[in-house]
Symmetry: C2
Subunit: 410 residues, 2 copies
C-alpha cells in the first residue's frame, strides 16, 4: 500500500508553526508497515487543494489529509472532497449526532456553522471525534482510500489511534510494528553499541537500534507482529540478552525519567534525600521535585553559590575551601555530609563545579565538576569533565548526579 500525506492550512506555509502532525502520521504509518511516498502541504485555497488531492489520489493507494475540517469559511476540505469524488455533500446522521453530543457534553451552544461540519460526501463514513467538533471522513473510492482528519494535533492523534489504526490493520496483512525502548545512563553510545553489536547483527525481527539523546542512550527494540502478545514473545528474549549485558546502565523503560526512578527507589526503601548544589543552581532539586509525591522523600535543598554560604549553611570547614578550592573533591564531600546532617536525611547529594562561560582556569577548566553522595556509613565522590555551554554543563551535571544516587543506593 502506497501512502501519501496532504497537509492543509495556510499557516503551515507561513513557517509560524512546525508541522508535528506530519511527523506523527509518518511514524504511525511506518509502525503499520505502510510505505509513505510523498507528503504535500497546501494552503487553504480550494483550487490548489483540489489539484494536489487529485494528483495524490492518482499516484497513491491511501491518502491522509489533515486540516480544513473546521466550521469557518477557511475550512474547505469537505467541499473539496465532494468535488474530487464527484459526490454531493449530504447530512451524515452519525456525524450530526456526534457533534450534538460533543456540544451537550461541553455545555456550549452549537451554531449553524457547526452543523455544516456534519455534511460529508455521499457514501463517506464519519470518523468519530470525541475530542472536538470536527468529525473525520473516510471515503473508499474503488481501491483507493481517502482519510481526512482535523488539524488540531490532539484530535488528529486520538482519532488516528481510535479509528484509523484498527481500520488500516484490517486493510493490510495484519502486521504492525511494536517497540520497546530501554534507557541507559552513564555509558556512551559507541561503547554501548560495541558491547551489543553481536546481539544487534543477529536480529531481524525484532530489530535493535541504539541511539543517543542528550545525557543518555536509548535502545529501541522493534518487532513486526500481528498482536501485542506475539510482539512480546519476540521482544522478551532479546530484552533479556540486552539486560544481561547492559544491566548496570539500564535505568528505565519507555518514558521513564531518572528523577522518577530515583524517587521510586527512595520510596521503596523509605529513605530520604537532601541536595546541596553549586554549579547546577537548583536544577537537581527542580528535577527531583518535578515528580508528583516527591515531598515524601525530598527533604530540602541548598543552593550554595558563594563560599560563605557553603561554610555557613552546610558547615563546610573553611580550611577545605582555602586549601583545595571550592571546586574540589574535599569540598563536594563536605557539602554532601553537611546537607545530610542539616536535613537529617538518609542521603546527601552535592555538586560543585564550573559551569562557565567564565571562571575556568588552566588547572580547573570550565566543565570540571565534583559530585559526592553521603550516607551515615560512607561518603563517596566522583569527578567529571563535561563539555558544552553553561546550560548543557548544568544539564549533564544534574544527569550524572542523579545517576550517582541511582547506582549508590541500589
Amino acid at each position: 500500500m502506497r501512502a501519501e500525506l496532504v497537509m492543509i492550512g495556510t499557516e503551515l506555509l507561513l513557517g509560524e508553526t512546525v508541522d508535528s502532525n506530519a511527523a506523527y502520521l509518518a511514524q504511525e504509518l511506518a509502525n503499520l508497515g505502510i510505505d509513505l511516498y510523498y507528503k504535500s502541504t497546501v494552503g487553504d485555497n480550494w483550487l490548489r487543494m483540489l489539484e494536489v488531492l487529485t494528483q495524490a489520489l492518482g499516484r497513491s493507494d491511501l491518502v491522509i489529509t489533515s486540516g480544513g475540517l473546521g466550521p469557518t469559511m477557511d475550512d474547505q476540505t469537505r467541499s473539496c472532497l465532494s468535488a474530487l469524488a464527484n459526490r454531493s455533500l449530504v447530512l451524515n446522521p452519525t456525524a450530526e449526532a456526534q457533534i450534538r453530543a460533543y456540544f451537550a457534553k461541553t455545555n456550549r451552544p452549537m451554531s449553524d456553522n457547526n452543523l455544516k461540519q456534519a455534511f460529508l460526501p455521499e457514501g463517506a463514513q464519519a470518523i468519530p471525534n470525541q475530542w472536538g467538533t470536527a468529525p473525520g471522513i473516510l471515503l473508499e473510492l474503488g481501491n483507493k482510500i481517502l482519510i481526512s482528519l482535523p488539524g488540531v494535533p490532539r484530535e488528529l492523534k486520538n482519532m488516528f489511534q481510535a479509528s484509523v489504526v484498527p481500520y488500516l490493520i484490517n486493510k493490510t496483512d495484519g502486521n504492525r510494528l511494536y517497540s520497546r525502548t530501554l534507557r541507559f545512563v552513564g555509558i556512551g553510545e559507541s561503547t554501548l553499541e560495541e558491547m551489543v553489536k553481536d546481539i544487534i547483527s543477529n536480529q531481524t525481527n525484532p530489530t535493535i537500534a541504539p541511539y543517543a539523546s542528550f545525557g543518555e542512550v536509548k535502545i529501541r527494540i522493534t518487532a513486526k507482529a500481528k498482536s501485542s502478545i506475539e510482539a512480546e514473545a519476540l521482544i522478551a528474549p532479546v530484552e533479556k540478552q540486552l539486560r544481561e549485558t547492559l544491566g548496570q546502565w539500564l535505568y528505565g523503560l519507555e518514558q521513564d525519567t531518572l528523577e522518577a526512578v530515583v524517587g521510586q527507589m527512595l520510596i521503596e526503601r523509605k529513605e530520604t534525600i537532601a541536595t546541596a548544589e553549586s554549579c547546577t543552581g537548583g536544577l537537581i532539586a527542580h528535577r527531583l521535585t518535578n515528580v508528583p509525591g516527591s515531598s515524601n522523600y525530598f527533604m530540602q535543598g541548598a543552593i550554595t553559590y558563594s563560599n560563605d554560604s557553603k561554610v555557613k549553611i552546610l558547615s563546610v570547614p573553611e580550611e577545605l575551601i582555602i586549601n583545595y578550592g571550592a571546586v574540589s573533591e574535599h569540598v563536594a564531600k563536605a557539602m554532601a555530609e553537611g546537607v545530610r546532617n542539616l536535613a537529617n536525611s538518609t542521603w546527601g547529594l552535592a555538586v560543585t563545579g564550573i559551569a562557565g562561560p567564565s571562571g575556568g582556569t588552566g588547572e580547573k577548566p570550565v566543565g570540571l565538576v565534583y559530585m559526592a553522595i553521603s550516607h551515615q556509613d560512607f561518603t563517596k565522590a566522583e569527578v567529571h569533565r563535561f563539555t558544552g555551554n553553561r546550560e548543557e554543563i548544568k544539564q549533564r551535571t544534574a544527569q550524572a548526579a542523579l545517576n550517582l544516587v541511582r547506582v549508590t543506593i541500589k
Copy 2:
C-alpha cells in the same frame, strides 16, 4: 513570485525527524514578501524526485529544494537537476575550489566522492558553503529559478542568509519584512489586545500582531521596507505608542529572558538576591543561575520543602506555620525575610504553594501560591491561583516570582 519548497530525504517520510528547514524557509520567504504556494516532501528516489520537481517547476516561479547534495549514493539531487534542466553535469571550478578549501581548513582528507559534489548542471552557479562540503546550486531556467541547498539545517540557514536572501531581494521589488518582538509578562493576551486594539487597527505598515506563549504575551511589529533603516523609521513610532500604553508589563525585546532582565537590573544597581522556594523546588534558582555571570548577584537559594526546614533554615516562626499553614502570606513573607537575612542579600524572594497533583484542599486548592519579596525597608506579598499540571504550576510560579522581582526593584 510564486514559490514552492521541495524537501528531499527518506528520513523526512519516516517521521523520525521534524522538518525544521521547511518552517525556516517558509518564514524567510514570508519575510521577503514571496508567497509560498506548495511544499512537497519526497524520499531519496530519483524518479519520484524528478516527477515532483518537474511539477514544481511547471507551476511555480521559484523552487527551493533542501537535501540530497551529499557525497553518497543516496544523494541524487544533482543528477536529478541535470535531467530536469536537460543540462549535463560538469565540474564547476568555483565549487571545486570551495570544497578543497573546506577540507584544507578543517584539516581532513578529501575523498573522490567529495569531488563529485562539485559537478553541477552546466550553466548553474555554485552557492558558497563555508559550513560544510556541499555547495548549493542556483539555476536560472528562462524566467524560472531553481535553488538547491543542503539538508543540514546549519548549512542551509547560513547559506540562505549569506547568498539566497541578497539574490532574491534583487529579484523582487526590493522590499522585505523586518520585525521587532516586544515581550510582556503579568498581563493576559485578551486584556493586552483590548488595550491596543485601536493602535493595531490603524496600522497597515508596520502591522502589529499580539500572540500568547507560555507565561507571557508577545507583540510582533512587522514592517515592509527596503532597508533596516527605513524599517526602523516605520517601527519606532508604533513601538513608542505601544510602550506608552503597555510599558508596565514590557520586560524585554526579541530573545530576552525574564531571568536575564532581572539579572541585568541587579548588576546595574549593584544589588544581590537570595531565594527560598517551596513548591517551585529550585526552578527559580535554576533560571536565575542559567544566566552567565549570575554568581555576581545570586547569593544562595534554599529549597525548603518541609515545615521543619522552613523553621530551621529560614527561621520562619513555628507559630506562623501552626496558625496560618505553610501555604500562607505570613509564611511567604517570613521565608523571604529569612533568606534575605541568611544570605545577607539586598533582596529575598520566596514562594510557597501547592503544585499538586495531590495536597490540595477545599480551602487551599492545587495551584494556590503565595510569593513574597523582602528588602530591609519592606516586605510585600502576592497571592496567585495557577492552573495546569505540576510542572506547569511550577513554571507559572517561577515566571510570576521573577516578574515580582522586576516590578519591585525597578
